[in-house]
Symmetry: C2
Subunit: 281 residues, 2 copies
């Protein structure tokens, strides 16, 4: 049976974008448990840098949301940096409207949250006429912000957990437009810190520029019955209209099929990097 979470030394430093109570923080607890030190970052670049420059041992980043789609910035950063993906998890994203204690809905003049969260609650926001929307870099951070500044006529959109952490009040629960709202997160570490392997493998590669080449690249997996759970493409800087492809494969990188498939792919792909092979929590 698989362990409930990844074994790491107690007190490890985990970097993520946002404050305590952010969705990345919750994903971090799900993967690593809660006996760690949080390193709060304000951007994804900063999260990657924190691990690369050893300010943190580990990081957790969101990679995809079922409504908003891929978090493209993090795909670019995965190719650019040489960190290793060591685990994956996903969370149901439920948003709450959070205020100071005793504040009623009609007093609210401003709403703060991450732009994606604001966009995921449009049906509520449309009903609140005359209320101003304000972008903030983090959902939980927006709760902390209205608390620290004593903004009584403001509300924040974040998880219930964030309300609890910052001692604020949940005015409305489940305010997201669409309940099928999940975010997938990856845990990262510097290379060779963790043994490679698990039910999923993520790779990134660049192909020779010839007709049908992507089809050939996918054939190396299809021919070996290796299931593809995700494909993403991003532009290659300096080479207009050429792309890096990112694949998530439902297989352990140590399996014979995967070893053969990747050797086969190298014949077609001048650039190939295994981003990691990891368990899913």
């Amino acid at each position: 049976m698989k362990q409930a979470r990844l074994n790491i030394p107690a007190g490890s430093k985990v970097a993520f974008q946002g404050e305590l109570g952010s969705f990345s923080h919750r994903a971090s607890i799900k993967i690593f448990g809660s006996k760690n030190e949080s390193i709060h970052c304000t951007s994804f670049e900063e999260v990657f840098e924190a691990v690369a420059r050893k300010r943190a041992e580990l990081a957790v980043i969101p990679i995809e949301n079922t409504l908003a789609g891929s978090i493209y910035k993090n795909f670019d950063l995965l190719a650019h940096h040489s960190l290793e993906v060591i685990a994956e998890t996903s969370l149901r994203v439920e948003h709450s409207l959070i205020v100071h204690k005793g504040i009623q809905l009609r007093r609210i003049k401003n709403i703060y949250s991450h732009p994606v969260a604001l966009e995921q609650c449009t049906s509520l926001l449309r009903r609140l006429r005359g209320v101003e929307k304000n972008s903030y870099y983090d959902t939980a951070g927006s709760v902390k912000f209205i608390r620290d500044h004593g903004l009584k006529e403001a509300a924040a959109i974040a998880s219930e957990e964030a309300a609890r952490i910052y001692g604020m009040t949940v005015l409305k629960r489940g305010i997201e437009d669409d309940p099928e709202n999940y975010t997938r997160f990856l845990a990262l570490a510097r290379r060779k810190r963790f043994s490679r392997g698990g039910e999923k493998t993520s790779i990134v590669f660049g192909l020779r520029n010839e007709a049908g080449i992507l089809f050939k690249a996918l054939s190396v997996f299809a021919l070996r019955n290796i299931d593809l759970t995700k494909i993403e493409s991003r532009p290659i800087r300096g080479t207009p209209w050429e792309y890096l492809f990112y694949l998530d494969l439902q297989i352990d990188v140590r399996s014979k099929e995967c070893i053969h498939a990747l050797r086969h792919l190298r014949e077609l792909a001048p650039y190939l990097k295994v981003l990691g092979s990891y368990p899913v929590f």
Copy 2:
């Protein structure tokens, strides 16, 4: 020989995001010529709505940039609306630093532009210490903004063309970090207004959820030597971890190979829509 541009009645209304002199406006002139009426929109939703609700006959939208990647919002809108792609073009994106006449670099305290343009000029912006960056919805619009408000200590980042249109001065040319900066644009119309056909065909489809299905979908083109120039995937709302796939094919939809390939694809794809088949200018 292909005509230089698409034939449309003089005085047609063309919707695009941004002001005169924006890159979308320049793409519109390249595809349709300059004897049209511009319908300026502040968002891509508004551009699609303008054509769908007959405020405009035509639209031009950016779909992909060689540095920033796909403009995902417009992929989503293409699937959501039932407009037809009737032409494609691409433009080299060159940015200029634009100011009021007689203003020198050291007087500038604020820079306005579209966030993507600001990100594409980071090496210049990093050298200008203490200058504040301000996001604006459009490059050319930011030139108009600093002119209309008489902001003498501000500069805008936009095309030279925008400086000319608004009677402003180019302080520096070619300020983008990477000269391999191109944007691809699509022209749109309501369905059946233009005869379908041209060197490219764009489609969007959803697949049954089974192992190796994307490989099979791509095989319908590879088996017929139809070249794929772009693949994009976006989440399907309400169905977590399933995707719509967008393909650009280097073929005329009226060709026998394409007709066979699409019939073959329908066996695998419960949802399939031809977004258009069109000439490239």
